[in-house]
Symmetry: C2
Subunit: 106 residues, 2 copies
């Protein structure tokens, strides 16, 4: 039986300004790796689009960041954490669009 | 330090036909719970929108289904599994739109 992930799932998709350089990617990936050190994150995944291609699959984004939290309060701590604010400050020039899906367990 | 999730993340968002009845929800939630018994799923989360409200947060969907797999091949087994095909057959009348984001670890 699959393992149930934590209650609060926060999934962020980033669409970068084009063209995307190798330097941009290196800067962003280094920043992501710092970001996920925030202590209230329980589980995490730093991703890029898979090779799956079906009509329903959106693979237009550049990066995805999935984090889970025990509860909404822990996610709020993450949102306001200095490391998170620094991440936004240092990297927001890279993206043209961000979409967030926050989900809680049914 | 947060736990790294498995390599292949498959996140599906369902937008239901309106109005959504209690009966529709019960039918869908029961079907989701059967769906996640497919043995190649490692981690999973069945969700509804959280209460977070910011400009970047999309909370227009009805349900989310997050599953992780060891690799793409295990996700392909899931896609073609009789339980998955039965889920689509029995529930696709409920939704007007589905968006899938498949991500692999950077």
């Amino acid at each position: 039986m699959a393992k149930q992930l934590n209650y609060f799932v926060h999934h962020v998709f980033f669409w970068f300004n084009k063209p995307v350089s190798k330097k941009d990617k290196e800067r962003f990936e280094a920043a992501l790796k710092k970001l996920v050190t925030i202590e209230t994150i329980v589980e995490m995944h730093l991703g890029v689009p898979a090779t799956t291609r079906r009509e329903v699959v959106d693979r237009s984004y550049t990066y995805s960041l999935l984090t889970t939290f025990k509860n909404k309060e822990d996610q709020d701590i993450y949102q306001n954490h200095p490391i998170h604010l620094k991440f936004i400050d240092e990297c927001s020039d890279l993206w043209e669009n961000v979409v967030v899906y926050d989900s809680v367990t049914i």
